[in-house]
């Protein structure tokens, strides 16, 4: 039991050291030697847990996406109307990206490995499926327009959020991700929300700045 706990602690330390290095100098520049040095481990300890740098990256991708997925599910499974959960859930995920280092590193690695890593492929597919199901539900509840194609909307939401995160990283080192996500929703809402629900959701969106204190208030609920 003690041994198992110690082994888990070692694994954690390796992952956290790798995450720090990947965040500081990027995946390609970080060698296994640097990771071992940062973690103050022997090569044997590292190879006991991970047989390659890619295995280590895959573990980070998996842990990071699990954290983000659980955060979204926690919101999606609340009894709130589904469109409220979709919007709020996306913000909670974006918020987590700025506080959870493993999740952030995992997202970057996911992007780098997207084309040839299984973990990456099923992560994206999982999000699109989930968002499609949520969209269909929100259409049934009357908050989204009845003539929408749920899959197309689900895909658009996932793509827009990934894009917002990418732009935020490229231009502001991820500091303004919540504002970018808010701007994206502001553009998206009039295109998909039913006329009846639109004024409510404009305010619901404006209130996200209340819900995440890190985000500067944008408009104080002025109906455009």
């Amino acid at each position: 039991m003690v041994r198992q706990a110690r082994s888990e602690a070692t694994r954690r330390k390796i992952i956290m050291s790798a995450v720090e290095l990947f965040n500081e100098i990027g995946y390609p520049a970080a060698g296994l030697g640097d990771i071992i040095e940062r973690a103050e481990m022997t090569k044997g300890a590292l190879y006991y847990h991970f047989d390659s740098k890619e295995a280590l990256a895959t573990a980070i991708i998996e842990e990071g996406s699990t954290n983000l997925w659980n955060a979204f599910q926690g919101i999606a499974q609340s009894p709130a109307p589904t469109l409220e959960s979709i919007i709020h859930g996306v913000f909670v995920v974006a918020d987590l990206l700025s506080t959870d280092k493993v999740a952030r590193s995992g997202t970057h690695l996911l992007r780098a490995f997207g084309e040839f890593n299984d973990a990456a492929a099923h992560t994206y597919a999982g999000w699109v499926d989930e968002m499609t199901a949520c969209t269909a539900q929100a259409i049934a509840e009357g908050d989204l327009r009845p003539d929408l194609d749920a899959h197309a909307v689900g895909e658009t939401i996932v793509a827009a959020m990934l894009g917002a995160e990418l732009l935020s990283n490229a231009t502001a080192a991820g500091a303004d991700v919540l504002e970018r996500v808010a701007r994206t929703w502001r553009v998206l809402l009039p295109a998909i929300v039913s006329a009846e629900s639109l004024p409510y959701f404009r305010e619901f969106l404006a209130r996200e700045s209340l819900r995440h204190s890190a985000m500067p208030p944008t408009s104080d609920f002025v109906d455009p």
Binding site: G74, I75, S78, P79, A80, P81, E84, H88, V92, D95, Y200, E203, F204, R207, L210, R211, H212, D220, F221
Partner: protein, 218 residues
Amino acid sequence: MTEPLDRRADATRLQILRAASRQFAQKSYNLVSLDDILADADVTKGAMYFHFRSQHALAAAIIEYRAEVARAAVDELVAHKLSGLETLIDISFLIAIDDIGDESARAGLNLLESIGRTDGLRTDVVERWVAVFTEITRKAVEEGDIVEEPEHVAKLLVSMYLGLRQTSNPAEPERFLRDLQNAWALLLPGFTKPERMAYVTQFIKRRTAIAMKKARSL
């Protein structure tokens, strides 16, 4: 294979608590006899006294149990990270839905009205409830939705719910939820920033609609 003794004892204790909840959910404390509970739980008097030294102790255990369950549910709602005022509204509808359709919730709240005045249990449970609401209200004040003293607002909201159980009736789901919505509508202007009223009113209307769909009578 024999079950470990303490696990079997736990199962019996739970069985008694469930049967008693069923009884107290339907009838007031004074109308429930120990024999009703024993018959429903299918346990002997001896077994009951092994776990609870009196009917009163059994009722107190139900209140405590319910308070714990409610606390866990509130923590889960707070973890959803909505604003303070939205969280308070969500909690009130969550409690109402449980009160309508969950025996231990209905029994716990019924019992809170009939026992515990002298031994401090009621004060203790209600004070904990007010403390949790005060904390969430404080957040709502920081966010600019609520403009009154947090503790006063918290006390008003708890009184509102406990009073609503008297003037309305959780056994009539639609009426009860409508009355809850109306009570919120009347209270809100007393502590909400005027420019936030329109949104919050809509929010309550949407929560009422969901609760109507979700609530299942006992």
